[in-house]
Each structure stands twice: as structure tokens, then as C-alpha cells.
Amino acid sequence: MTHSAVSGWRWSVLAWGFSLIILIPIGVILSAWITPEWAVWRHLVDTLLGELLFHTLLLLIGVTMWVLILGVGLAWLTAMCRFPGQRFFDWALILPLAMPAYVLAFSMLGFLDYGSPLQGWLAHQFGPNGYWFPDTRSPAMVVFLFSLSLYPYVYMLARAAFLGQGQRMLEASRMLGRSPWGAFFHAALPMARPAIAAGCALAVMEALADFGAVSVLGFNTFTTAIYKAWFGLFNLTAATQLASLLLLFVAVAVTVEQQMRGRARYFSTDGHAPSRDRIRLRGLPALLATGLASLVFLLAFALPVGQLLVWAWSRLDLDLDGRFRDLALHTILLGTGAALLATLAALFLGMVRKRRAGERATRLALHLATLGYALPGSVLAVGVMLTLVWLGKGVDGVFGTATSGVSTGLSGGILALLFAYLVRFLAVAMGPVESGLERIRPSLAEAAHGLGSSSWEVMRRVYLPMLRPGLLTAILLVFVEVMKEMPATLLLRPFGWDTLAVRIYEMTSEGEWERAALPAIVLVLVGLLPVILLVRKTGRSGG
């Protein structure tokens, strides 16, 4: 008894130690508030800050509004109604999740821009100035592209909430005197509100964290400013100040998301998914429903993928060379390394939770350890870099060497990048690992011991086989996320370690859409794997 209590106590200490290490980058950035450098601040206020704040607020409001309309509207249609194509759109509308915003942005730009086939055709029809076309780099277009890319977060959570409520709730509402629309607004929507709000917050977090798409669109935000401060001006202090400001916005979003996710669980009922009693749309409403779903699917997925394929094909023999092989190799090495690391860490934290979930302090440590998912990659990169600089100084101080190979070697190292990935994607690995661990009831181990198995044998013959699907899913999810990650990779990668995402950044920043297409299409195709897993797991709503 004493023995187990002592080892349990060790688990908690280990968990806290781990979380603190994960939290260091955030702490380092927040320390910028303790010792503000007024000169840098004043410079930022004079030059950039107004535009950055305006753009960020614009993104926040515009994206929230549009992902709400698209996500909730489409979720309601596919989950509760019947219209031509509903079964297909039910899962197809999740697919845009595989497309990073920056890929959608540059492929749509290529499609819509001046000189694109579309505009060429319009010019041919109406003369060069004979038609109106929206400005492809206007703030409205930025909001539009982000909404197309991010609505799946709201769509998926709202859809799950609507399906989870089941038909009963709507029927109860009808029996109490509400029309079908009344039932939607007074019962279904309020019940789904926490899930919808959580989805919105996730979408906003993604929009705030995005670096690639806003670079392509030439829309200055905190992430582009951080990048410029770092690489353009080599001013790590300014980058830190900007990162700390961006963190404030993220903190609001993450608070909303965490609160609402908890409440969504609490509001869910185990209702039966509607099968036959869907609202049957006919005539014009059916046409509008099919039209809207087709339009969104086309713009958010089919068209960009088609465009990418055309470009990639046209340049295949030029781009598919040794350089591309190196890019792919780096991507796979980094992705696999980070995936294994994050999954191991998730397994460790999951075991701690299984043993020590009763303690508030341990629960808090575990919770804090997974908060990194909210950190924008550029903020995280700044935090990791600052940490390494600080560590380097410490090391140098002890050994009395001046700025030596140790610090630069460390700060540019693969380890820094892997650590950043670990912080950012630990939460991604936690999900599947924990749901795997949840299935292992203590009685299983007891039964195995009762049948004569040693601890090691229980691990090998019971735990690992039961955990295998969860661990593999975790590895896959983290791998794909790392592959798509752009800003942190861009800022922290060692010299010569370009990945597919970095290549896309380099090519798009020079306006070479066609040459970015091959790495982009690879990202999208690999990115489809976890989305397919997700679609299969959420199940069809039937119908």
C-alpha cells in the first residue's frame, strides 16, 4: 500500500515536470509583459499596430460570422433534411478539412487572379474591361477564403450535436406547439449552441494562427509581422512583443472553446439519429439546398484540388526531381519523429491520468500540458527560440565560453523543431490515446494476472493490442499535422531542412503557383487520410 502511494506520488511529480517543460515557451513569451521594452513598443504602435489590430479584428468577426452561417446551415441541412445529394454532402463537406488554408488560398488565387483561365475567358467574352470582378486580395476575399477553409470545424461539431439530439427533441418541441422552424430555433439551435461556439472558437484559433494564407494574400497580421520582425529585422524582441499580443486574442478564443466543449458534452443526449423522419425538401428549397452544398464543396475542395492537379501535372517532369525527394524525406523524418514523440508523451500522460485522475493538482498539470494546441506556430517558434537563447546563455555562462557552437547548434537544431511540434500537437495525440486507454478496464489486467500472466505479459498481450489502434491513429494525426505545419517549421528549421510546406511558402511568395502545386497536392492527399478516418468514425447520419 505504502509502495503504491509512493510510486503514485512520483507519477504526479513526473506529470508536473513534464507540463512545466511544455509550458516554458509560453512563460518566456509572457515574461515580455514583466519587462516591457518601451522603445520597441512605441515603434510598433507608431508603425504596425493599428493595421494589425484592425486586420485581426476583421478576421475574427468576418470568419466567425461566415463559418457560423456556412457551418450551421450546412450541418442542419445534411443532418436533419433530405434533399438530392444529401447522403454525399453529409461526408463530402468534411473533406475541405484536408486542405490547409494556404493551399486553398494560393490555388483559388491562381484560379481567380488576373491572367487566370477564368478571367481570360471573361476578357475574351466581354473585353478586357467589360466585366466586374472582385478584388482577389481585398479583405473581403481574405475572409471568404478563410471561411471556406475553416467552416468544417463548425460543420462537424454542429452536425454531431444535431445528430446527437436526435429526433425526439424536435418531436417534443412540435408536440408543444412549435412549427418545424420554431423547433429549430427554440430547441435544436440552443441545445447545439455550446458545440457551435466551440467549433467557432477552433476556426478563429486557426485563423489567428495562420501564416501561410495571409502571406499569399498579402494581408498583414500578427503572424506575418512576427515573421518579418524575426527574419527581416532580426529583432527577436519585437517578435516577442507581437507574439505576446497575439497570445491575448488566442487566450480569449481558447477560453471560449474549453468552456463550451465541456458544456457541449453535458448537453448531449443519446438520442437516435433521424432516419426516416427527416424534413423532406422539395422544389425550390431542395434546389437551393443542393445548390448551396454543391457550391461550397466545389469552391472549398473540388475546384482547388482540380486546379492543383492541372498545375502539378503540367510541371511533373520538372518538379519531380531529387530536390523533391529531399523535401519529402525531410517531411517524413520530421513528421515521424514528432509523431512518435507526441504519441509516447500522450501515452505517458494518459497513464498518469488513469492512475491519478482523482487529484486536482495532477489533473491541472495534464490539462496545462495539452494547451499547446492553441499556440500559433509563429508564437511557439518565438517562445522556443527565446528558451534556447536563454539556455544557451546559461550553458555558456557555466562553461565560460562566449557565444559558441553550443547555443547556435542547439537553437538551430532539429531538437528545437521537434520540441515545438511536441508542444503544439500533444493534444492531437492525446485524443485517440486516451480513448484507447479508456477501454482498458482494471478488471482486464486483473483477469490476465488471474490467468497467470506477469506484468510484462499483460502489457504485451493485453494493453498493447488494445491500444494499437489508438496509438496508430495518434501517430497518423500528428504526422499529418506536422506535415502541414508552416510557420514554426519556417522559423526554426535548420539550414537545408526544407519541407513540403516550406517549399510551398517559397514558391507562393514568388508567385509561382504552378511550382507550389506538386507539394500541395501531396499534402492534400496525405491529409485526406485522417479526414477519412474521422468521417468513418463519426458515421454516416443515414438516410
Binding site: R168, E171, A172, M175, G177, R276
Partner: protein, 368 residues
Amino acid sequence: MNPAPPLLTLEAITCGYDPAKPVVRDLSFHVAQGEMISLLGSSGCGKTTALRAIAGFTPLLSGWITLQGQTLSKPGFTLPPEKRRVGMVFQDYALFPHLTVEENIAYGLKGQPKEAIRATTRDLLHLVGLESLGRRHPHELSGGQQQRTALARALAPQPALILLDEPFSNLDVDLRERLGLEVRQILASQGMTGILVTHDQHEAFAWGDQVGVLHEGNLRQWGTPFSLYHQPEDPFVAGFIGQGTFVAGTCIAPNTVRTAVGLLQGRAAPFQPQEGDPVRVLVRPDDVIPDPDSPISAAVVRRAFKGAATLYTLQLDSGCQLQSLFPSHADHAVGERVNVRVATTHLVIFPNTGPGATLECVPSSLIQ
């Protein structure tokens, strides 16, 4: 004098999603104001579909439904559920998880002044005995409390009729009986009419002034619990309700049948056999009583102690098995021989045709 016009009328309704295989066929019944009705049947018999047709969730293929003289449904027309003035208590209660108990109850009271809503809600909370729990959320309530909330919510808009879809099946056996009676009393105190759907005959009998037995979409019998048990109109109902054995016999005189368990006499129904007709007689466990003087001797095969009585399964020398309800103090071991006699005042008789006609006895539960 004409009786009062019925509150609810179902006239030959047929409904289902596939017109070739309707779930409910040609179902008719009337319900009077203040009456308590049970629709009884095993799963898939169409009872829930019938209820949903009354609620307005299932359209009719033929027939019609009227409530207080107003047509609710007919082929091609289904008055929307929200316009029917019909309340419903769902099997899973379907309480809105985002609303408190009070707000759930007030949900159907839109368009009234706030003060009136508050008063109605307070009265209903009092009626169902949840005065102190009005501000709780559904997940903070026990199963029974959720049930009462669902009832109060259904009553709030003052519907003409309340439908209850297996409302007690999620509760413990103990609570189920108690709450069933309580809900019935609450509805009766409001002069409310209630239609309960269930697969549990005890529940159906405890609830219904009238009980309708449904099977494969057809109404097999409509009557009081007493008449269903003692005067089943067809072999299915005889087998579905209660326990018993069909014993083969021959009619030798009006109201007299010779069987392996002796000469049975009593008013014959529903089949009136002629002399010489082969028939089957339903023998209920309470018809078989211990009698030391009887020539009929049987061995105890199984016994199930039920408290006030013991249900014995007895095997005659012919192999025929009877069930018999003995007073509890008549204690016999398995294998022991007892003498019994079959005492009948009325005979439940059907023609002996079809498969199994040559068998001397068939457990009634097999005739379905």
C-alpha cells in the same frame, strides 16, 4: 339518448412508410373524454406507429382521425403536430437539456403573459410534486423526477389528450408500478384523457379502462382487462394475455366438452361448437385446483414460488402439461404426485384446426 360523442376517433386507419407493407392496418377505436386507454403489443406490432399517427408524425394511407370533431389526419392531409392540441410523454422523456425544469414546463406556453406562465408552471410543479426542483437541470434529476417533469411539460399547454409512449420502461420495476399509478391519478385529477402504449401487460391492465391488443398492425381485441383475460376473442389474444394451456377435446353437448382432463362445462365463447366438433379449450392456471378426490393425477415438473401462490407445472400420465396456481401453503416437491381438477365456469373455446391439431395440449404462449 345518444351517448356523448367520442373525444378521439380513429376510423380504419392504415399507415406506414411502405404502402405495400403498412405497419398499421385498418385500425379503428374511439376514446371518450376522461378515459384511460392502453395499447398493448410486442415490439413491431404497430402500437407506436399508431400513437405517432395520432400525434401527427406519421401520415395516413387510408382512414381518418378526428379529435373533438376536428379532422386531424386523412390521406393527403396531416395537421402539423403543433396544431393538434395533443400532448406527448416520450420514452426517453426528451427533456431539453439546456433548460431548467421550470423552463422545460414553460416551453409550450409561448405567447402568454409572463405572470400567467409563472402561475401555470408553479401549479404544475406542485401537481407533480417537484416544487423545490424547478431550477434544476434535467441531468440533475432522478429518472422518476425526469418522468414527472415530462408529464408536467406535456400538461402545460392544456392539451385535449395526452399520449404516453412506453413512459415507464426506463425505470426500475419498483418505481415503474408506483409512478404508473401516480401518473394515472394526476391525469385523472385533471379530467385528462390518456393513451398509453406499452408491451407490458401488467402496466397496460393497471392503466387502461380499455385495452387494445395489437398484433402485426391489426387490432386483435378491444376491451376491459377482465374481458381480455377471461373472454379472449381469438387464439392469439388468449395466448398473449396471461398463461395457460390449450387442451384438445370434443364437444359432446352444448357447453360441454370431453377432454383428457375431464368433462369441462360452462358457457362457451367465442366459438359455439356443435356436438361432435373437435375443439380446443383454454385452461388457465387459476382454473386448475388441487382436489384429493379427483381421479386426475399428475406429477410436479417445475415450481415457481410467487409469494401468495405457487405456480406449478404438472405433467399428466399422457404427457400433457398443465400450469396450476396453488395457494402458497400447498407445498409439493418436484416429482411428487398431486390430484387436481379443472374447475371452469365459462369455457374459452376455439375450433381445433391447423397445425398441431393432433396434439393433446399446447402451451397457450405458443399460439401466436
